[in-house]
């Protein structure tokens, strides 16, 4: 029985980790060009979840179709945000911080007006559990894990293997150098922001069937994603993935073996330790 519980805990940890990683990669995309942490990322996730929820509940979309639709819609919204909210104040760190906070407040309270503050449950999809030799895995978590993994892989392939992605990386490394090579900076920063938002929307859509959809659903995941990117090292994609993996597994293991309170604290203790002993994070650039 002991090993079965352990494996189950690991798989739960992985499904948790995959959502953290989605959020963290989105934040990393945005950080790589804006050099800020986007406080509104949780609210972007929440909007993504609502788009999915509305499509599934009222228009009876298939879950995966609604996921893709939500990513596209929120990605376009990200383009808009980058152009009209963040770009005018690019490079002014503290002002960007206030902008992202103002955006978070506006989006959350608008969602409360538009959708009411109540929790909404998605109608059950992918019900039931898989039983492999006494290891029980809920199907919906498995689906979330796989879908998140596809998104993560996709975004990494895009970044490393396509010309567009390489250009993006060039912009994030050295804007001036990139623009000398004929890369149009503004287009790429907009694209990066859109991708970051789309990944948050994916995370939101995948969270929707597991938990509930509400205007406040984004505040906790975004805090977790902050922890993840610091653990892994700010601005590093591999760091975001490793950080998410570690946080997901540690949280899931402490929840099973040490209780929920310790689980909540564990992430922050990890964060404080890494900041004191290795402030750059595991894979971060040296400051």
């Amino acid at each position: 029985m002991g090993t079965a519980i352990f494996i189950q805990t690991l798989i739960n940890g992985l499904s948790l980790a995959s959502l953290y990683i989605l959020m963290a990669i989105g934040l990393t995309y945005i950080f790589s060009i804006m050099r800020i942490i986007n406080f509104a990322h949780g609210e972007i996730l929440m909007l993504g979840a609502y788009v999915s929820y509305l499509l599934i509940e009222y228009y009876h979309f298939h879950f995966f179709l609604s996921l893709i639709f939500s990513m596209v819609v929120i990605g376009l919204f990200g383009l808009f945000l980058e152009r009209y909210v963040f770009r005018p104040r690019k490079g002014e760190d503290l002002n960007l911080l206030v902008l992202s906070l103002g955006l978070a407040i506006t989006l959350q309270s608008s969602a409360m007006l538009a959708f009411s503050p109540e929790d909404r449950g998605l109608r059950p999809i992918f019900t039931g559990v898989l039983n492999v030799q006494d290891i029980f895995i809920s199907k919906v978590r498995l689906v979330a894990l796989l879908a998140a993994a596809i998104c993560i892989l996709g975004s990494q392939l895009f970044l490393k293997r396509t010309k567009l992605g390489i250009a993006l990386e060039a912009v994030s490394q050295d804007e001036e150098g990139a623009s000398l090579q004929g890369i149009r900076i503004n287009r790429y920063t907009a694209l990066t922001f859109a991708i970051g938002c789309a990944l948050a929307a994916a995370a939101g859509s995948l969270l929707a069937p597991i938990f509930v959809v509400s205007p406040f659903m984004g505040t906790l995941p975004v805090v977790k994603a902050f922890i993840v990117i610091v653990l892994g090292g700010l601005g590093s994609m591999i760091g975001a993935m490793m950080g998410g993996l570690i946080l997901g597994l540690v949280e899931s293991l402490t929840a099973t073996y040490l209780g929920a309170t310790i689980q909540e604290v564990s992430g922050f203790v990890l964060l404080l330790l890494i900041l004191i002993f290795k402030p750059g994070g595991m894979f971060g650039e040296r400051e």
Binding site: N95, L103, T106, Q108, I227, L234, F268, I276
Partner: protein, 334 residues
């Protein structure tokens, strides 16, 4: 500008300050008698100004801490426990609350203040959240998620034959908050326009360069941080005894972010900025009450629009208007 003019201006400044103090001391309580809600807003505004001032000093060294609310929390819980469990007088626990916050600020500052930029912000964010979770988790001492209610009011001040001050009405708290505000205004003013303040600014501009000229960056950062956390503790303590309640949710990450926003909206790196920001953003929701359900939406939009149009904050806007005004005047003369 000749010496006489400078002297006249500084005398004028002192007169204006004295007049403002007199108005705050005498006129406001008399005019607002019987309007407890206005008093409440004024008291909260004064608390917020002190917190924003203290943050302004830390941010002058270039560090952005995301845990100022946590230090207010330390002050609030320290005083609450000292008064309710140890049965100390409020007047003893008030300085102790500040000192406790200051000491913890010092201890937290030591390992974190040499971390730079956004990493420092995240380290302090982690500290604040851990502290909040301790407040929630240690139920026997801190009352858990429900907090502690029924915190007694400060003991009355009795000066024989002169007056007695009982903390039953809002106006007594108003005076208490006003004294703290004046103290903070003076202390931070003196720090701001002193070699200490200039050293902080030098560190913000270039830490390496200021170290080369013999300014120990770490020393100044720690001094600024400790002073600021001391005042945050005092505010927290007063707040707890004013609201008769402390709870962990009031001292979380988002509250800390709100204080940061006071400073940025007011104008970073200026003495007057945090004050203006705190006043503006504490009064704003009251004016937005008319918008009812849209209140918070508009609040968020105002934050964004302010930064969009006035990237230097309210202070920057004020300077802009002032220079335009004086140009107009000169234009009129010539």
């Amino acid at each position: 500008m000749n010496a006489n003019e400078t002297k006249a201006r500084s005398v004028g400044k002192i007169l204006i300050t004295l007049a403002a103090i007199a108005i705050l001391l005498v006129a406001v309580p008399v005019l607002l008698k019987g309007q407890p809600y206005v008093f409440h807003i004024l008291i909260i505004t004064m608390f917020n100004i002190v917190l924003a001032l203290s943050l302004g000093l830390i941010m002058r060294t270039g560090q952005v801490p995301l845990c100022q609310a946590a230090f207010a929390g330390i002050g609030a819980y320290t005083s609450t426990i000292l008064v309710m469990k140890v049965h100390l007088s409020f007047w003893v626990s008030l300085p102790l609350a500040g000192i406790a916050a200051g000491i913890i600020g010092f201890l937290i500052g030591l390992p974190t203040l040499n971390i730079k930029g956004i990493h420092f912000a995240l380290a302090t964010f982690a500290f604040g959240e851990i502290l909040r979770l301790i407040f929630i988790g240690w139920v026997s001492l801190f009352g858990g998620a429900n907090g502690i209610s029924g915190i007694p009011a400060p003991d009355p001040i009795r000066i024989p034959f002169l007056f007695t001050m009982e903390f039953e009405s809002k106006s007594a708290y108003y005076y208490l908050a006003l004294i703290l505000l004046l103290l903070a205004l003076v202390v931070f003013y003196r720090l701001w326009y002193s070699p200490f303040g200039r050293a902080c600014k030098a560190i913000e501009e270039s830490e390496a360069l200021s170290e080369c000229t013999g300014i120990s960056a770490m020393k100044y950062k720690i001094m600024a941080f400790t002073t600021a956390t001391f005042f945050a503790g005092l505010v927290g303590c007063l707040y707890a005894h004013y609201a008769h309640f402390v709870g962990p949710q009031e001292f979380g990450f988002w509250t800390s972010v709100r204080y940061i926003v006071f400073v940025i909206i007011g104008g970073v790196g200026t003495y007057i900025g945090p004050i203006a920001g705190a006043v503006f953003l504490t009064f704003l929701p009251e004016f937005l009450r008319v918008a009812e359900a849209w209140e918070v939406v508009i609040y968020g939009l105002v934050l964004m629009l302010t930064i969009h149009f006035f990237p230097k904050g309210i202070k920057g806007l004020g300077d802009d208007l002032y220079s335009r005004f004086s140009k107009l005047q000169k234009g009129a003369i010539t």
